[in-house]
């Protein structure tokens, strides 16, 4: 199924829910906030159902929560409810902006789970439950996800303080001029900085290995004459095929997977809590560490969100530089991911090493312009931090016009027609694109299922509307297509790079007002970009102070894992490894 590229159309001005649901809307979230509405908690499912079925908002992009305890801003002066659940919905057939819904929840009350309507709410609601303690009624598997079961408290709540808590917001007053600094080593943390939830005993507790979805997986009945028994197998967490510290809990019958549940959080450092302690600018180098292969696009996404919130203009040359860096990083990511899909298939190292030769050259360019190969920290609010060094443009133009097209063609010759790759990849990991959309999957995965949805076209940001490029799609939604779509996208990136490097004007690279003293005005923003792995969004809420009130990362790697279980069922264990590889996750972004 191939169709026309989704482009942005003007969405309806007002949220029109019809007469039956008119009373569900309690009002706009704020007077000057566009298309964000407060919905009564008991009517949220009706509103979501209406938006999905009647108005076509089929993609639940972002679901998160904000704790407003102690909020000092004016916007919520007369609201009592402590927590707010935030939903951001998009229409994948029409493009354009989102509809935002807020549900106000007093502490200790439950919210209906959206999983029955949007299967993609699964991981996101679990994350909200884990970090905020909001219970979702009707969620099939409401357990902690990023933290362990014996963890006491819900860390994203405003009154929760980490071990060695110093102050709510940096900069810490102790550092200057008195110069005090406490080494954690001196405090001997062992056994003294851990508290457990009430009634939880570390000695008697046992990890629930066979919990509901895996233990109740359907028995395989294709071969009735064989009396087989299904067993639970852990793939990972320490295994090269899991791309980091990540565990796939599977129930297998022979080699066939009956149920699969992703287990994560081994690299969790509560990036979002750190983000609330940081000032606005301090978060920029921290975003490098999310998807550490693509720090340039992480920087851009965060900068874009803050610029939208604070109304900061970006100079023309900086816009071009951002596009150049983002497209280079897309090629870096896709060559890396192609190499490792092949690695997972058993073509050990050769395709991977060929694929990352050009990555090496691009990283050299990143290092020359930003000072670091991977942790670039290159973008700022209102532009980029430095202009190009001498000779950079010629080198980049050589890469974009000669070396990269040649290298991608070579990869194409090496792999695309390969009969083994076809035999292993065709029809494996199939899931129809409608299911992928419902599971909130984004990026190359849905384009490999035939839906030409790319945020660069569907809701253009930066200056992407000026470039001539296509959104490639493939029809089969299997791991072979997920490999090939990345190669095609890298080729389109080369086209964008050639145009951007040709057209880039001279001029300023950094507008004013974005320095370390920035205080973003009160309000909220959800902004997203087409990152190499999918839709990377930042949800920010500000109370007008030096630090974000809420800093949430909608990371594509994490939410794309929604599809891992459904995609793997019925295939072999060896296929599950490649299915995971073809989602293309980075654990820095999954666990945050």
């Amino acid at each position: 199924m191939s169709q026309a590229t989704v482009v942005a159309e003007a969405p309806a001005d007002e949220l029109d829910l019809g007469p039956e649901l008119a009373d569900a809307v309690e009002g706009a979230w704020a007077e000057d906030t566009e298309k964000t509405y407060v919905i009564a908690p008991d009517r949220i499912l009706d509103v979501l159902r209406h938006l999905r079925d009647v108005q076509g908002y089929d993609f639940l992009s972002n679901l998160t929560c904000v704790d407003y305890k102690g909020y000092g801003g004016k916007l919520r002066a007369d609201v009592d409810a402590r927590l707010e659940i935030v939903y951001n919905l998009y229409n994948t057939r029409r493009g354009g902006g989102s509809i935002g819904l807020h549900v106000r929840v007093p502490e200790d009350e439950t919210v209906p789970s959206a999983t029955s309507l949007y299967a993609g709410a699964n991981l996101q609601e679990r994350e909200v439950y884990d970090l905020f303690g909001v219970k979702f009624e009707g969620h099939p598997n409401l357990r902690r996800i990023l933290l362990w079961d014996g963890f006491n408290g819900h860390p994203m709540r405003k009154d929760w303080q980490e071990a060695y808590f110093e102050e709510d917001v940096k900069p810490f007053r102790s550092r200057h001029p008195k110069g005090e600094y406490a080494f954690h080593e001196d405090k001997i943390p062992w056994a003294k900085n851990t508290t457990y939830p009430a009634g939880w005993d570390p000695d008697s507790w046992q990890e629930p290995v066979a919990y509901v979805p895996v233990s109740q997986a359907p028995h395989h009945e294709n071969e009735p004459h064989l009396d087989t028994e299904s067993i639970v197998v852990n793939l990972g967490p320490h295994h090269p095929s899991t791309h980091g510290v990540f565990r796939m809990l599977t129930r297998v019958e022979g080699e066939t997977i009956l149920a699969l549940e992703p287990e994560m959080g081994y690299l969790h450092r509560n990036h979002e809590k750190i983000g609330e302690r940081n000032t606005w600018l301090m978060n920029m180098p921290f975003t490098d560490r999310l998807d550490y292969l693509n720090s340039m696009s992480n920087n851009w996404s965060y900068a874009l969100a803050v610029e939208k919130l604070a109304g900061i203009e970006v100079p023309e040359r900086a816009e071009y530089l951002r596009v150049i860096m983002a497209e280079f990083t897309r090629i870096v990511n896709h060559t890396w991911s192609i190499g490792f899909i092949l690695n997972d298939l058993g073509a050990l190292q050769t395709p991977a090493l060929y694929a990352i030769e050009e990555r090496e050259m691009i990283l050299d360019l990143f290092e020359a312009v930003s000072g670091a190969r991977m942790m670039c920290n290159y973008m700022r609010f209102g532009g980029v931090v430095r202009d190009l060094p001498e000779g950079w443009h010629e080198q980049a133009a050589y890469l974009a016009n000669e070396r990269l097209p040649r290298a991608l063609d070579e990869l194409d010759t090496l792999l695309t027609e390969n009969e083994i790759l076809k035999a292993r990849g065709r029809g494996v990991g199939y899931l129809p694109v409608e299911d992928l959309i419902a599971l909130s999957v984004s990026g190359p995965m849905i384009r490999a299922g035939g839906l030409a949805y790319d945020i660069r076209k569907a809701e253009p940001y930066g200056i992407y509307d000026r470039f001539d490029f296509d959104v490639p799609t493939l029809p089969n939604s299997d791991i072979y297509d997920r490999y090939y779509i990345r190669l095609l996208e890298a080729m389109e990136s080369v086209r964008i790079l050639q145009q951007a490097l040709r057209d880039i004007p001279e001029g300023e690279t950094l507008g004013g007002r974005g320095g370390y003293t920035l205080r973003a005005p009160e309000g909220e923003v959800y902004s997203r970009i087409e990152a190499p792995k999918g839709e990377l969004g930042f949800y920010l809420a500000s109370d007008g102070k030096v630090a974000p009130w809420r800093y949430h990362v909608r990371s594509p790697s994490y939410i794309n894992l929604n599809a891992l279980g459904p995609m793997s069922i019925g295939y072999k264990v060896a296929d599950a490894i490649v299915i995971l590889g073809a989602i293309d996750i980075v654990l820095g972004e999954v666990d945050r």
Binding site: K170, P171, F172, S174, R175, H176, P177, K178, G179, E180, Y181, F183, E185, N278, L281, M282, N283, M284, P285, F286, T350, Y354, E357, E360, M361, D364, L365, E367, A368, V369, S370, G371, A372, M375, N377, V385, R386, P389, E390, Q395, Y398, L399, R403, E410, T413, L414, L415, T416, E417, N418, E419, I420, K422, G515, Y516
Partner: protein, 285 residues
Amino acid sequence: MFGTGLLKGLGVTLKHALDTFDDDRESVPDRYRGSLDLGNNRRVIKQPIDQEGLLTIQYPEEKRLLPERFRYIPMLIWDSEKDEDRCTACGICAKVCPPQCIWIVRDSDEDGKPLTRASEFYIDAAVCMSCSFCVEFCPFDAIKMNHDYELAVYDRYPQLVYDMAELTVPLEYYAALWPTQFEEEETRRREEEEKKRRQEEEKAARLAAKQAEAAEKPADAPAAPKRSAAELQQLARERAAQRQAQAADGGSSEDDAAAAKKTRMEELKRKAQERARQRKLESGE
């Protein structure tokens, strides 16, 4: 036909194999193009953008030529001409530091009045995330990024907690590491000084004209010293007192400390010369 895709792919690997084999057999492989031979198998490799053949570098014998903007751990600039640290202990670097790994003790005189210099300055290199914000926002060009990346030690504490002596480098070292940026800064500084000097001259000329008009007697232009005479005397007294106190402690004598600093600065200047030599290679001289 079944198998053609495989054969085409194998053709690519064969080409790669032959290319790298051929390249490796050359007396000067492509990766050595434009590199600097330091003798004893040690090389600084430039890695041109159109390099073919074997791309791997035999670290640690072979090392890449670092670009100027490479950033690792910050360093403090000691102005060797003026014999003073550029740092004024304003604390902006400690404020903008995302992981809060900089801490500074501001110096003060006997009365507790704060002075514009640091008595202690620490960076916890194990916590530093090399973001370079301290460099970006320092108004005095007093903190810059070092290129030295081989910092492995056996213990994090105290080896990776750098104090002022370990962080301080001479200006020449910085100029060799960051030649373009250093040149830009110096040009800017010269322009500003020139502007300031001209403004002062004009002011003085106006004042002189006024005075000449009033008393028909020319007057000298008033100089604008950076620090008052009293303040300078005060600083000198403090330094002397500190040195005396150190000597009295029985620890390192004044001569020892001075000698250690001198050795370190000489060492860094040698490093700077070496880097300047490598730079020439980059510019193709």
